[in-house]
Symmetry: C2
Subunit: 225 residues, 2 copies
Protein backbone atom coordinates (compact mmCIF):
# COMPACT_ATOMS: atom_id res chain seq x y z
CA UNK A 1 0.00 0.00 0.00
CA UNK A 2 1.40 3.40 -0.88
CA UNK A 3 1.95 6.11 1.64
CA UNK A 4 -0.24 9.01 0.78
CA UNK A 5 -0.75 12.33 2.40
CA UNK A 6 -4.22 12.20 3.85
CA UNK A 7 -5.71 14.50 1.27
CA UNK A 8 -8.10 16.78 2.97
CA UNK A 9 -11.34 16.87 1.12
CA UNK A 10 -13.78 19.70 1.28
CA UNK A 11 -16.91 18.96 3.24
CA UNK A 12 -18.97 19.14 0.07
CA UNK A 13 -16.77 16.54 -1.60
CA UNK A 14 -17.04 14.42 1.49
CA UNK A 15 -20.81 14.77 1.34
CA UNK A 16 -20.88 13.68 -2.29
CA UNK A 17 -18.73 10.65 -1.56
CA UNK A 18 -20.63 9.71 1.58
CA UNK A 19 -24.05 9.98 0.02
CA UNK A 20 -22.87 8.01 -2.98
CA UNK A 21 -21.60 5.27 -0.70
CA UNK A 22 -24.81 5.22 1.23
CA UNK A 23 -26.70 4.81 -2.02
CA UNK A 24 -24.44 2.06 -3.33
CA UNK A 25 -24.47 0.20 -0.06
CA UNK A 26 -28.24 0.37 -0.02
CA UNK A 27 -28.38 2.24 3.28
CA UNK A 28 -30.21 4.87 1.31
CA UNK A 29 -32.49 2.49 -0.50
CA UNK A 30 -33.80 3.09 -4.00
CA UNK A 31 -37.11 4.86 -3.94
CA UNK A 32 -36.77 6.21 -0.42
CA UNK A 33 -36.95 9.89 0.52
CA UNK A 34 -34.55 11.75 2.75
CA UNK A 35 -34.65 15.26 4.07
CA UNK A 36 -31.65 17.53 3.72
CA UNK A 37 -31.57 18.04 7.45
CA UNK A 38 -31.65 14.29 8.04
CA UNK A 39 -28.66 13.74 5.74
CA UNK A 40 -26.84 16.67 7.27
CA UNK A 41 -27.26 15.31 10.76
CA UNK A 42 -26.29 11.83 9.63
CA UNK A 43 -23.04 13.14 8.16
CA UNK A 44 -22.45 15.56 10.99
CA UNK A 45 -22.32 18.59 8.73
CA UNK A 46 -24.57 21.51 7.93
CA UNK A 47 -27.20 21.63 5.24
CA UNK A 48 -25.13 23.73 2.86
CA UNK A 49 -22.69 21.07 1.67
CA UNK A 50 -25.49 18.51 1.70
CA UNK A 51 -27.48 20.68 -0.66
CA UNK A 52 -24.52 21.15 -2.94
CA UNK A 53 -23.86 17.43 -2.91
CA UNK A 54 -27.45 16.49 -3.67
CA UNK A 55 -27.61 18.96 -6.54
CA UNK A 56 -24.57 17.33 -8.08
CA UNK A 57 -25.80 13.82 -7.48
CA UNK A 58 -29.11 14.78 -9.00
CA UNK A 59 -27.30 15.87 -12.13
CA UNK A 60 -25.60 12.50 -12.15
CA UNK A 61 -28.92 10.75 -12.03
CA UNK A 62 -28.50 9.07 -8.67
CA UNK A 63 -31.25 10.98 -6.95
CA UNK A 64 -34.00 13.47 -7.51
CA UNK A 65 -34.48 16.67 -5.58
CA UNK A 66 -38.13 17.01 -4.65
CA UNK A 67 -38.77 20.24 -2.78
CA UNK A 68 -40.35 19.64 0.63
CA UNK A 69 -40.36 15.87 0.14
CA UNK A 70 -36.64 15.42 0.48
CA UNK A 71 -34.36 13.87 -2.07
CA UNK A 72 -35.53 10.61 -3.55
CA UNK A 73 -32.98 7.95 -4.36
CA UNK A 74 -33.57 6.96 -7.96
CA UNK A 75 -35.09 3.55 -8.45
CA UNK A 76 -33.85 1.68 -11.49
CA UNK A 77 -36.53 0.12 -13.59
CA UNK A 78 -35.86 -2.39 -16.31
CA UNK A 79 -36.35 0.41 -18.79
CA UNK A 80 -33.70 2.43 -17.00
CA UNK A 81 -31.25 -0.42 -17.23
CA UNK A 82 -32.03 -0.84 -20.90
CA UNK A 83 -31.33 2.83 -21.45
CA UNK A 84 -28.08 2.66 -19.55
CA UNK A 85 -26.93 -0.41 -21.44
CA UNK A 86 -27.82 1.17 -24.75
CA UNK A 87 -25.67 4.20 -24.00
CA UNK A 88 -22.82 2.06 -22.73
CA UNK A 89 -22.96 -0.14 -25.80
CA UNK A 90 -22.62 2.81 -28.13
CA UNK A 91 -19.98 4.74 -26.28
CA UNK A 92 -17.79 1.84 -25.26
CA UNK A 93 -17.85 0.50 -28.79
CA UNK A 94 -16.67 3.87 -29.94
CA UNK A 95 -13.93 3.79 -27.32
CA UNK A 96 -12.88 0.33 -28.49
CA UNK A 97 -12.71 1.54 -32.07
CA UNK A 98 -10.71 4.62 -31.12
CA UNK A 99 -8.41 2.63 -28.88
CA UNK A 100 -7.63 0.25 -31.72
CA UNK A 101 -6.81 3.21 -33.90
CA UNK A 102 -4.31 4.63 -31.45
CA UNK A 103 -1.65 2.00 -32.09
CA UNK A 104 -0.95 1.33 -28.45
CA UNK A 105 2.07 -0.70 -27.49
CA UNK A 106 1.74 -3.88 -25.48
CA UNK A 107 3.09 -1.96 -22.55
CA UNK A 108 0.41 0.70 -22.86
CA UNK A 109 -2.21 -2.02 -22.95
CA UNK A 110 -0.81 -3.69 -19.85
CA UNK A 111 -3.51 -2.44 -17.49
CA UNK A 112 -6.22 -3.67 -19.83
CA UNK A 113 -4.53 -7.05 -19.99
CA UNK A 114 -4.15 -7.07 -16.25
CA UNK A 115 -7.87 -6.45 -15.80
CA UNK A 116 -8.62 -9.41 -18.04
CA UNK A 117 -6.24 -11.63 -16.11
CA UNK A 118 -7.87 -10.57 -12.87
CA UNK A 119 -11.22 -11.57 -14.28
CA UNK A 120 -9.86 -14.95 -15.29
CA UNK A 121 -8.55 -15.54 -11.82
CA UNK A 122 -11.79 -14.42 -10.23
CA UNK A 123 -13.77 -16.78 -12.43
CA UNK A 124 -11.45 -19.68 -11.64
CA UNK A 125 -11.96 -18.97 -7.96
CA UNK A 126 -15.63 -18.30 -8.48
CA UNK A 127 -15.22 -15.04 -6.66
CA UNK A 128 -17.96 -12.85 -8.03
CA UNK A 129 -17.02 -9.70 -6.15
CA UNK A 130 -13.49 -9.80 -7.48
CA UNK A 131 -14.83 -10.48 -10.93
CA UNK A 132 -17.11 -7.45 -10.73
CA UNK A 133 -14.25 -5.25 -9.57
CA UNK A 134 -12.02 -6.43 -12.40
CA UNK A 135 -14.84 -6.00 -14.89
CA UNK A 136 -15.24 -2.40 -13.77
CA UNK A 137 -11.52 -1.91 -14.16
CA UNK A 138 -11.61 -3.38 -17.64
CA UNK A 139 -14.38 -1.12 -18.84
CA UNK A 140 -12.75 1.87 -17.20
CA UNK A 141 -9.45 1.14 -18.90
CA UNK A 142 -11.14 0.62 -22.21
CA UNK A 143 -12.71 4.06 -22.30
CA UNK A 144 -9.53 5.61 -20.98
CA UNK A 145 -7.64 4.10 -23.89
CA UNK A 146 -10.29 5.44 -26.21
CA UNK A 147 -9.06 8.89 -25.29
CA UNK A 148 -12.36 10.77 -25.37
CA UNK A 149 -12.78 12.50 -22.03
CA UNK A 150 -16.48 13.06 -22.54
CA UNK A 151 -17.05 9.41 -23.26
CA UNK A 152 -15.13 8.59 -20.11
CA UNK A 153 -17.25 10.91 -18.00
CA UNK A 154 -20.51 9.58 -19.37
CA UNK A 155 -19.48 5.95 -19.11
CA UNK A 156 -18.43 6.49 -15.52
CA UNK A 157 -21.86 7.89 -14.72
CA UNK A 158 -23.66 5.04 -16.43
CA UNK A 159 -21.39 2.46 -14.85
CA UNK A 160 -22.53 3.71 -11.47
CA UNK A 161 -26.03 2.69 -12.35
CA UNK A 162 -24.91 -0.69 -13.61
CA UNK A 163 -23.01 -1.24 -10.41
CA UNK A 164 -26.12 -0.58 -8.38
CA UNK A 165 -28.12 -3.09 -10.36
CA UNK A 166 -25.32 -5.61 -10.29
CA UNK A 167 -25.14 -5.65 -6.52
CA UNK A 168 -28.56 -7.25 -6.73
CA UNK A 169 -28.12 -9.47 -9.76
CA UNK A 170 -24.54 -10.60 -9.30
CA UNK A 171 -25.45 -13.66 -7.30
CA UNK A 172 -28.38 -14.83 -9.31
CA UNK A 173 -26.73 -15.01 -12.67
CA UNK A 174 -24.44 -17.57 -14.27
CA UNK A 175 -20.66 -17.29 -14.07
CA UNK A 176 -19.65 -14.87 -16.80
CA UNK A 177 -17.31 -17.20 -18.64
CA UNK A 178 -18.19 -16.18 -22.17
CA UNK A 179 -17.80 -12.55 -21.17
CA UNK A 180 -14.11 -13.07 -20.70
CA UNK A 181 -13.57 -14.67 -24.06
CA UNK A 182 -15.04 -11.51 -25.53
CA UNK A 183 -12.67 -9.37 -23.55
CA UNK A 184 -9.65 -11.29 -24.79
CA UNK A 185 -10.84 -11.08 -28.34
CA UNK A 186 -11.30 -7.33 -27.96
CA UNK A 187 -7.85 -6.98 -26.46
CA UNK A 188 -6.35 -8.73 -29.46
CA UNK A 189 -8.23 -6.53 -31.90
CA UNK A 190 -7.01 -3.39 -30.15
CA UNK A 191 -3.45 -4.68 -30.03
CA UNK A 192 -3.33 -5.45 -33.71
CA UNK A 193 -5.00 -2.13 -34.52
CA UNK A 194 -8.25 -3.28 -36.03
CA UNK A 195 -10.82 -0.58 -35.24
CA UNK A 196 -13.82 -2.08 -36.95
CA UNK A 197 -13.31 -5.49 -35.42
CA UNK A 198 -12.79 -3.94 -31.98
CA UNK A 199 -15.99 -2.00 -32.40
CA UNK A 200 -18.05 -4.97 -33.46
CA UNK A 201 -16.65 -7.34 -30.87
CA UNK A 202 -17.46 -4.99 -28.07
CA UNK A 203 -20.82 -4.13 -29.48
CA UNK A 204 -21.77 -7.77 -29.55
CA UNK A 205 -20.40 -8.23 -26.05
CA UNK A 206 -22.48 -5.42 -24.64
CA UNK A 207 -25.60 -6.51 -26.47
CA UNK A 208 -25.35 -9.93 -24.94
CA UNK A 209 -24.64 -8.54 -21.48
CA UNK A 210 -27.67 -6.34 -21.87
CA UNK A 211 -29.95 -9.19 -22.89
CA UNK A 212 -28.64 -11.34 -20.10
CA UNK A 213 -29.31 -8.71 -17.48
CA UNK A 214 -32.70 -7.70 -18.78
CA UNK A 215 -33.68 -11.35 -18.97
CA UNK A 216 -32.69 -11.89 -15.36
CA UNK A 217 -34.53 -8.83 -14.19
CA UNK A 218 -37.66 -9.96 -15.94
CA UNK A 219 -37.47 -13.57 -14.81
CA UNK A 220 -36.96 -12.57 -11.22
CA UNK A 221 -39.63 -9.95 -11.37
CA UNK A 222 -37.06 -7.38 -10.38
CA UNK A 223 -38.76 -4.56 -12.15
CA UNK A 224 -37.46 -2.01 -9.69
CA UNK A 225 -34.45 -1.89 -7.46
Amino acid sequence: MTIEAAKQKSTTTHAVDSIRSLIFSGELAAGTDHLESELAERLGISRTPVREATLMLAQQGLLEVRPRKGVRICALSVKDMEEVYAVLTELESLAAEDAARMGYSTRELASLKSAIDSMDRAIAEQNLEDWATADDQFHHELVRLGGNSRVQAIVTMMSDQVRRARSITLHIRPLPVKSNEDHRELYEAIKRGDPLAAREIHRRHRSQARELLVGILHRHRLSFL
Copy 2:
Protein backbone atom coordinates in the same frame (compact mmCIF):
# COMPACT_ATOMS: atom_id res chain seq x y z
CA MET B 1 -49.15 31.73 -28.16
CA THR B 2 -50.52 30.01 -25.13
CA ILE B 3 -51.41 31.79 -21.94
CA GLU B 4 -49.19 30.53 -19.24
CA ALA B 5 -48.93 31.35 -15.60
CA ALA B 6 -45.67 33.18 -15.20
CA LYS B 7 -43.96 30.33 -13.46
CA GLN B 8 -41.89 31.65 -10.66
CA LYS B 9 -38.42 30.27 -10.81
CA SER B 10 -36.21 29.82 -7.83
CA THR B 11 -33.24 32.13 -7.63
CA THR B 12 -30.90 29.21 -8.20
CA THR B 13 -32.72 28.25 -11.38
CA HIS B 14 -32.58 31.86 -12.45
CA ALA B 15 -28.84 31.87 -11.79
CA VAL B 16 -28.33 28.76 -13.90
CA ASP B 17 -30.31 30.24 -16.77
CA SER B 18 -28.65 33.62 -16.54
CA ILE B 19 -25.11 32.30 -16.39
CA ARG B 20 -25.86 29.96 -19.29
CA SER B 21 -27.13 32.87 -21.34
CA LEU B 22 -24.11 34.95 -20.47
CA ILE B 23 -21.88 32.13 -21.64
CA PHE B 24 -23.79 31.56 -24.87
CA SER B 25 -23.92 35.25 -25.67
CA GLY B 26 -20.20 35.49 -25.10
CA GLU B 27 -20.54 38.05 -22.32
CA LEU B 28 -18.73 35.52 -20.22
CA ALA B 29 -16.11 34.68 -22.80
CA ALA B 30 -14.51 31.28 -23.11
CA GLY B 31 -11.38 31.00 -21.08
CA THR B 32 -12.15 33.92 -18.77
CA ASP B 33 -12.36 33.69 -14.99
CA HIS B 34 -15.11 35.08 -12.82
CA LEU B 35 -15.43 35.26 -9.08
CA GLU B 36 -18.53 34.02 -7.34
CA SER B 37 -19.01 37.41 -5.76
CA GLU B 38 -18.68 39.12 -9.13
CA LEU B 39 -21.38 36.90 -10.65
CA ALA B 40 -23.56 37.33 -7.58
CA GLU B 41 -23.38 41.09 -7.80
CA ARG B 42 -23.96 41.01 -11.54
CA LEU B 43 -27.14 39.01 -11.06
CA GLY B 44 -28.19 40.92 -7.98
CA ILE B 45 -28.33 37.84 -5.79
CA SER B 46 -26.24 36.33 -3.03
CA ARG B 47 -23.39 33.91 -3.47
CA THR B 48 -25.38 30.88 -2.37
CA PRO B 49 -27.48 30.40 -5.50
CA VAL B 50 -24.52 31.39 -7.64
CA ARG B 51 -22.47 28.63 -6.09
CA GLU B 52 -25.23 26.12 -6.63
CA ALA B 53 -25.60 27.23 -10.22
CA THR B 54 -21.90 27.04 -10.97
CA LEU B 55 -21.66 23.59 -9.46
CA MET B 56 -24.40 22.41 -11.78
CA LEU B 57 -22.96 24.12 -14.82
CA ALA B 58 -19.59 22.61 -14.00
CA GLN B 59 -21.18 19.19 -14.09
CA GLN B 60 -22.60 20.09 -17.47
CA GLY B 61 -19.18 20.96 -18.75
CA LEU B 62 -19.78 24.64 -19.39
CA LEU B 63 -17.38 25.89 -16.78
CA GLU B 64 -14.80 24.77 -14.31
CA VAL B 65 -14.74 25.65 -10.65
CA ARG B 66 -11.21 26.65 -9.73
CA PRO B 67 -10.98 27.38 -6.03
CA ARG B 68 -9.73 30.93 -5.38
CA LYS B 69 -9.42 31.71 -9.08
CA GLY B 70 -13.10 31.93 -9.76
CA VAL B 71 -14.99 29.84 -12.25
CA ARG B 72 -13.41 29.53 -15.66
CA ILE B 73 -15.66 29.39 -18.69
CA CYS B 74 -14.64 26.33 -20.66
CA ALA B 75 -12.79 27.02 -23.85
CA LEU B 76 -13.54 24.62 -26.67
CA SER B 77 -10.52 23.33 -28.49
CA VAL B 78 -10.71 21.44 -31.75
CA LYS B 79 -10.16 18.29 -29.75
CA ASP B 80 -13.15 19.17 -27.59
CA MET B 81 -15.33 19.61 -30.63
CA GLU B 82 -14.13 16.32 -32.03
CA GLU B 83 -15.06 14.64 -28.77
CA VAL B 84 -18.47 16.23 -28.72
CA TYR B 85 -19.17 15.29 -32.31
CA ALA B 86 -18.05 11.73 -31.70
CA VAL B 87 -20.50 11.36 -28.83
CA LEU B 88 -23.31 12.99 -30.78
CA THR B 89 -22.66 10.75 -33.76
CA GLU B 90 -22.97 7.61 -31.68
CA LEU B 91 -25.95 8.57 -29.60
CA GLU B 92 -27.99 10.26 -32.29
CA SER B 93 -27.46 7.31 -34.59
CA LEU B 94 -28.77 5.11 -31.83
CA ALA B 95 -31.75 7.41 -31.44
CA ALA B 96 -32.41 7.27 -35.18
CA GLU B 97 -32.28 3.50 -35.10
CA ASP B 98 -34.59 3.31 -32.11
CA ALA B 99 -36.98 5.85 -33.58
CA ALA B 100 -37.26 3.81 -36.76
CA ARG B 101 -38.05 0.77 -34.66
CA MET B 102 -40.91 2.49 -32.87
CA GLY B 103 -43.29 2.46 -35.81
CA TYR B 104 -44.30 6.08 -35.46
CA SER B 105 -47.22 7.37 -37.45
CA THR B 106 -46.87 10.29 -39.84
CA ARG B 107 -48.68 12.36 -37.29
CA GLU B 108 -46.19 11.47 -34.58
CA LEU B 109 -43.38 12.42 -36.90
CA ALA B 110 -44.95 15.75 -37.71
CA SER B 111 -42.63 17.82 -35.56
CA LEU B 112 -39.61 16.18 -37.12
CA LYS B 113 -40.99 16.93 -40.55
CA SER B 114 -41.77 20.46 -39.53
CA ALA B 115 -38.20 21.01 -38.42
CA ILE B 116 -36.96 19.82 -41.79
CA ASP B 117 -39.36 22.13 -43.59
CA SER B 118 -38.17 25.03 -41.46
CA MET B 119 -34.62 24.26 -42.46
CA ASP B 120 -35.59 24.21 -46.11
CA ARG B 121 -37.21 27.58 -45.80
CA ALA B 122 -34.26 29.02 -43.92
CA ILE B 123 -31.88 27.79 -46.60
CA ALA B 124 -34.01 29.25 -49.37
CA GLU B 125 -33.98 32.56 -47.55
CA GLN B 126 -30.33 32.15 -46.68
CA ASN B 127 -31.20 32.86 -43.08
CA LEU B 128 -28.50 31.10 -41.13
CA GLU B 129 -29.87 31.86 -37.67
CA ASP B 130 -33.23 30.35 -38.54
CA TRP B 131 -31.48 27.38 -40.07
CA ALA B 132 -29.47 26.83 -36.89
CA THR B 133 -32.61 27.04 -34.76
CA ALA B 134 -34.42 24.55 -36.95
CA ASP B 135 -31.41 22.27 -36.97
CA ASP B 136 -31.41 22.26 -33.19
CA GLN B 137 -35.10 21.46 -33.23
CA PHE B 138 -34.53 18.60 -35.63
CA HIS B 139 -31.83 16.99 -33.54
CA HIS B 140 -33.83 17.52 -30.40
CA GLU B 141 -36.88 15.87 -31.94
CA LEU B 142 -34.82 13.01 -33.24
CA VAL B 143 -33.52 12.01 -29.83
CA ARG B 144 -36.93 12.53 -28.30
CA LEU B 145 -38.37 10.08 -30.78
CA GLY B 146 -35.59 7.67 -29.92
CA GLY B 147 -37.20 7.40 -26.51
CA ASN B 148 -34.06 7.02 -24.40
CA SER B 149 -34.14 9.71 -21.74
CA ARG B 150 -30.46 9.35 -20.95
CA VAL B 151 -29.54 9.80 -24.56
CA GLN B 152 -31.71 12.89 -24.62
CA ALA B 153 -30.01 14.36 -21.57
CA ILE B 154 -26.53 13.70 -22.89
CA VAL B 155 -27.30 14.98 -26.37
CA THR B 156 -28.77 18.15 -24.92
CA MET B 157 -25.57 18.76 -22.99
CA MET B 158 -23.39 18.12 -26.01
CA SER B 159 -25.60 20.24 -28.22
CA ASP B 160 -24.92 23.16 -25.93
CA GLN B 161 -21.27 22.89 -26.78
CA VAL B 162 -21.98 22.63 -30.48
CA ARG B 163 -24.16 25.71 -30.26
CA ARG B 164 -21.35 27.67 -28.70
CA ALA B 165 -18.94 26.70 -31.43
CA ARG B 166 -21.53 27.31 -34.10
CA SER B 167 -22.09 30.89 -33.05
CA ILE B 168 -18.54 31.42 -34.28
CA THR B 169 -18.51 29.20 -37.32
CA LEU B 170 -22.02 29.72 -38.64
CA HIS B 171 -21.08 32.59 -40.86
CA ILE B 172 -17.88 31.26 -42.26
CA ARG B 173 -19.16 28.01 -43.59
CA PRO B 174 -21.04 27.09 -46.76
CA LEU B 175 -24.81 26.91 -46.84
CA PRO B 176 -25.74 23.51 -45.46
CA VAL B 177 -27.67 22.29 -48.46
CA LYS B 178 -26.50 18.71 -48.44
CA SER B 179 -27.27 18.51 -44.74
CA ASN B 180 -30.93 18.85 -45.47
CA GLU B 181 -31.01 16.10 -48.04
CA ASP B 182 -29.64 13.84 -45.33
CA HIS B 183 -32.37 14.87 -42.97
CA ARG B 184 -35.08 14.05 -45.47
CA GLU B 185 -33.54 10.71 -46.20
CA LEU B 186 -33.41 9.96 -42.47
CA TYR B 187 -37.01 11.02 -42.04
CA GLU B 188 -38.05 8.59 -44.75
CA ALA B 189 -36.10 5.74 -43.19
CA ILE B 190 -37.73 6.35 -39.83
CA LYS B 191 -41.16 6.59 -41.37
CA ARG B 192 -40.84 3.31 -43.23
CA GLY B 193 -39.37 1.68 -40.12
CA ASP B 194 -35.89 0.84 -41.34
CA PRO B 195 -33.66 0.97 -38.26
CA LEU B 196 -30.38 0.02 -39.87
CA ALA B 197 -30.79 2.48 -42.71
CA ALA B 198 -31.77 5.23 -40.27
CA ARG B 199 -28.72 4.50 -38.21
CA GLU B 200 -26.32 4.54 -41.12
CA ILE B 201 -27.80 7.61 -42.75
CA HIS B 202 -27.49 9.63 -39.62
CA ARG B 203 -24.07 8.28 -38.85
CA ARG B 204 -22.83 9.41 -42.23
CA HIS B 205 -24.53 12.77 -41.78
CA ARG B 206 -22.85 13.41 -38.46
CA SER B 207 -19.46 12.24 -39.71
CA GLN B 208 -19.60 14.71 -42.54
CA ALA B 209 -20.78 17.52 -40.29
CA ARG B 210 -17.91 16.74 -37.98
CA GLU B 211 -15.32 16.80 -40.73
CA LEU B 212 -16.76 20.01 -42.11
CA LEU B 213 -16.57 21.75 -38.78
CA VAL B 214 -13.16 20.46 -37.83
CA GLY B 215 -11.86 21.45 -41.25
CA ILE B 216 -13.20 24.97 -40.82
CA LEU B 217 -11.73 25.30 -37.37
CA HIS B 218 -8.35 24.23 -38.63
CA ARG B 219 -8.39 26.36 -41.74
CA HIS B 220 -9.34 29.45 -39.80
CA ARG B 221 -6.85 28.70 -37.05
CA LEU B 222 -9.74 28.68 -34.59
CA SER B 223 -8.08 26.27 -32.25
CA PHE B 224 -9.86 27.76 -29.27
CA LEU B 225 -13.11 29.58 -28.86
